[in-house]
């Protein structure tokens, strides 16, 4: 006689207690409703006049897809090169380079865009400097090339390279791989070993990171908007604010949702295909002697960090010291007010990040211990993965207009948007943290007479705490940098640093964006430090 199969489908003996199920289902419902509603409204949109004309639509598709793919590839190249040089070669100043490679996390892509525009646009700082020294004339160098796809790709690739660098470096740090040693003994050259042993080893981590970059690039709003690349996100935002064409915005959201879902499925499939071999016994790394190449490596890493860090930070600092013209002064905010905005912003984001982390605990638990039904509930709570920031904001506004007026109160829509948008990320990293705990630890706890609930909070939570902290740090960073949903959903009088950067910059007043940008980067340094601490524990 078979034991009740419902019990097996919900995880058998490892099944989390009912309280966990109740919370997780609640979270899933909350995150799912806006997503479903957007799709319903989109499908119900009538008339082809709502859609943009076909050539424009095609351009949107091309731009969005190319941006996503090109950013991912370039980002992958940067991240993997950094990881290989830092973890698998005799690099000088390795500790410093480790920090430098992760620092782009603190710089929002739209900030890098602003700096790049200021420096490299026609009649920007660089051209003017060259002309003043009579090295070139205006128009000689095609600075206009930075607009559109090239500039957007470069910005996103450099800003998002930590998404690839961090996991690949983690894999390479595991220690010498037996396969690599055997290959070396058999006389294989370094390039051969790289291609046939190391690259397959890091492929899952690099692939996962590149998919994350693609998801981000698909959804990003700030960069294509500033660099004048029409993508789905900018088009949706435009319909939202310019023409107040909500149905059109919803309709445009559909392709984005489909593409994002496809990428998520791809990511799941990749993750399931056997990870890297982890060497359980520690052995010193097989590091490549660099010799003369040391100079080249330092130069390469230096160039990358100049582009990603030194140039933007330098520009921002330069602007902070610059005397301003009256029109620029007008859009400037006094430092005390700016610091107060910054402090509020950080406090708000810290609270919401904490709330989201707490909410993510129950779905994360269900993901691995809840059997087949648990997986479904957990994945449903990650519906927000499929909704870029702009679309999340849109769906909440649609719901509010339909009568869910109680949602419209103050900060609630914004908090909701942040939760829906970033909960999936939290569930994913919490899941990784929980997986570190051996099942026998929980089993022994229960065999000692403690209920599953007590084992969860007395044993599992304390042990997962470092992972929880790192997950919170990444959430904090993402929320601090968030732009489109904040622009659309913030109540009157509520400012964030991101908004204070965007407003002047989108009007061309770059210098006014410098102070809030610096403040944001400073605020982001603590979480980045937390992430680094977790990585190199």
């Amino acid at each position: 006689m078979r034991i009740d199969s419902l019990q097996q489908l919900t995880g058998g003996t490892r099944r989390p207690p009912s309280l966990v199920w109740v919370f997780a289902i609640g979270v899933a419902v909350v995150t799912l409703i806006p997503a479903i509603y957007t799709v319903i409204r989109a499908l119900g949109a009538s008339g082809t006049s709502v859609l943009p004309p076909w050539p424009l639509f095609l351009q949107l598709v091309t731009n969005t897809v190319l941006l996503a793919v090109a950013s991912a590839i370039l980002s992958g190249v940067i991240g993997v090169t950094q990881a290989l040089l830092i973890e698998r070669s005799q690099l000088w100043g390795r500790t410093v380079w480790r920090i430098v490679a992760a620092l782009p996390l603190a710089i929002p892509p739209y900030v890098l865009s602003i700096c790049m525009l200021a420096l490299l646009r026609p009649r920007g700082l660089v051209e003017r400097w060259l002309v003043e020294r009579e090295l070139v004339a205006f128009g000689d160098i095609p600075f206009a090339a930075i607009f559109g796809l090239p500039g957007s790709t470069i910005v996103l690739a450099f800003c998002l390279s930590p998404y690839i660098y961090l996991p690949v470096a983690a894999v390479l740090r595991q220690g010498s791989n037996h396969l690599s040693e055997i290959a070396q003994i058999s006389g294989a050259s370094t390039w051969y070993r790289l291609r046939h042993v190391t690259l397959p080893l890091i492929a899952p981590a690099a692939g996962g990171g590149m998919l994350l970059v693609m998801l981000y690039a698909l959804a990003d709003f700030g960069v294509p908007a500033l660099l004048r690349l029409p993508t789905f996100s900018t088009a949706i935002y435009g319909r939202f604010t310019g023409q107040i064409d909500r149905e059109g915005a919803a309709l445009l959201s559909l392709p984005l949702i489909v593409a994002t879902l496809g990428l998520i499925v791809l990511e799941e499939w990749l993750a399931g295909r056997g990870g890297a071999q982890i060497n359980r016994s520690w052995r010193p790394r097989l590091v490549r002697q660099l010799g003369w190449w040391q100079a080249g490596a330092q130069l390469l890493l230096g160039t990358l960090s100049v582009i990603a860090l030194v140039a933007p930070l330098g520009t921002l600092l330069y602007w902070s010291w610059l005397p301003l013209s009256p029109s620029e002064q007008a859009s400037l905010i006094a430092w005390p007010k700016l610091i107060s905005i910054g402090a509020n912003n950080i406090a708000f984001v810290a609270l919401v990040a904490t709330l989201t982390t707490v909410l993510a605990i129950t779905p994360a638990l269900l993901l691995r211990r809840g059997g087949k039904i648990g997986v479904v509930v957990a994945r449903l709570s990650q519906a927000g993965y499929a909704l870029p920031g702009v679309v999340v904001a849109l769906s909440i506004v649609l719901l509010v207009n339909q009568g869910a007026v109680w949602l419209a109160g103050g900060l609630v829509p914004l908090v909701l948007a942040y939760i829906i948008r970033f909960l999936p990320q939290a569930v994913q990293s919490l899941d990784a943290a929980f997986e570190q705990i051996a099942p026998s630890i929980e089993e022994v706890g229960r065999s000692l007479g403690q209920s599953a609930l007590r084992v969860l909070y007395r044993i599992v939570m304390p042990l997962a705490a470092p992972g929880l902290r790192a997950s919170w740090a990444l959430l904090f960073l993402s929320m601090l940098k968030e732009l489109p949903a904040t622009l659309l959903l913030r109540p009157a009088g509520f400012d964030t640093l991101a908004v204070r950067i965007w407003m002047p910059a989108s009007d061309g007043f770059y210098t006014a964006a410098a102070a809030p940008a610096l403040l944001l980067i400073v605020g982001a340094l603590v979480p980045v430090a937390l992430v680094l601490r977790n990585q190199y524990r």
Binding site: T13, V444, R446, S447, L448
Partner: protein, 366 residues
């Protein structure tokens, strides 16, 4: 005597498995005894342990603990309700808690004022008093294991389950830890089920051994019974070095290459060929020009040499000699029965009876 734990026709077959991991198992554990579940990997012994602990649910059959039903007909008591202590192979000590807190975790059902005393008692029982404030990573492997045992024994459960408790220790430590464990279990008067794949461990520590193979119980009995009177060829080979020599009934005796034997009791079939179970202490050999065997291999083991002898029939049997009685590969020897006790004979997979050598001979080496 009332069994502490009893399993009746317990079967477990996960959906992903092609056959049952535990197949209609009947087992009983009596108060105060040490029962060893012995078998090769995949025999279902760890699964059986987990079924008793409540970490897995049987597909059919019944499990009772202390007379109360723990699992039957669709209902299964969760692990926390079963009062069964368990020691995992990786010890599973809570890394973020001190030794004292690890043990105290098990005593949550006892009144607070008693807990400290019980913790100290448990530590004294395993010989670790004074180490209470240490964290698990500050202890050696052997010490961690003792903490795991102390934690399982602290709430005085009727039975404690141990999964391969010695496999993580180095060989030099094992004998010592083994006899210590037996002493601890006797002092605590707790019944125990120990899972292992090592027959030498089983022989050393068990009151009774249950031999499992592919989910089925082959034989259950005292270590002496399993070693000297195995009921199947698998059991014979698993319990220790086993060789089988053909024997036929001829002229009033069971004749084999090593000598004649007298069957105890009647032979069921006078015409078939039987296989006599020979272990290396049952035979002896000496140099002989016209002997019945040749030495084909010799391995040094320290106190003795291990020899492989080839008989006229082509069969190879194993024997040992003290290190000061040296024989060379290729030497011709005379080998015959030396045992004065009954030897088991088999027909096919199963034991049919025993027979006593008629002319056992131990060679007096000068």
């Amino acid at each position: 005597m009332e069994a502490v734990v009893s399993l009746t026709k317990v079967t477990r077959q996960p959906a992903t498995a092609s056959h049952a991991i535990v197949n209609a198992l009947d087992l009983a554990l009596y108060p105060g005894e040490i029962l060893v579940l012995l078998g090769p990997s995949g025999s279902g012994k760890t699964t059986t342990l987990r079924l008793i602990a409540g970490l897995e649910i049987p597909d059919s059959g019944e499990i009772t603990i202390r007379g109360m039903s723990a699992a039957s007909r669709g209902k299964s008591l969760p692990p926390e309700a079963r009062r069964v202590g368990m020691v995992f192979q990786d010890y599973a000590l809570f890394p973020h808690m001190s030794v004292n807190d690890n043990i105290r975790f098990a005593l949550h059902a006892f009144p607070k004022h008693e807990q400290a005393t019980r913790v100290n008692e448990a530590l004294r029982l395993v010989g670790l008093n004074g180490l209470g404030e240490r964290l698990p990573h500050q202890l050696s492997g052997g010490q961690q294991q003792r903490v795991a045992i102390a934690r399982a024994l602290a709430p005085e459960p009727p039975v404690i389950l141990l999964d391969e408790p010695f496999s993580n220790l180095d060989t030099a430590l094992r004998d010592h830890v083994r006899s210590e464990l037996r002493g601890i279990l006797r002092s605590a008067r707790t019944a125990a089920i120990i899972v292992t794949h090592d027959q030498a461990e089983a022989l050393a520590i068990a009151d009774r051994i249950a031999l499992l193979h592919e989910g089925i119980l082959h034989q259950i009995g005292t270590p002496e019974e399993l070693f000297a009177q195995p009921r199947t060829r698998f059991a014979a080979a698993f319990m220790g070095q086993a060789d089988f020599v053909d024997a036929r009934w001829q002229d009033g005796a069971l004749r084999c290459e090593l000598g004649d034997l007298a069957p105890v009791g009647a032979l069921s079939d006078l015409t078939s060929t039987y296989q006599i179970l020979i272990r290396y202490d049952d035979i002896d050999f000496t140099h002989a020009e016209s002997g019945n065997a040749t030495i084909v291999e010799r391995t040094y083991e320290g106190p003795q040499y291990h020899y492989r002898l080839q008989l006229a029939s082509g069969h190879i049997i194993n024997a040992k000699q003290r290190h000061d009685r040296l024989y060379g590969v290729g030497d011709r020897v005379q080998v015959n029965h030396a045992a004065t006790h009954p030897l088991v004979y088999f027909s096919g997979e199963h034991a049919h009876g025993t027979a006593v050598p008629l002319t056992p001979q131990r060679y007096d080496h000068a």
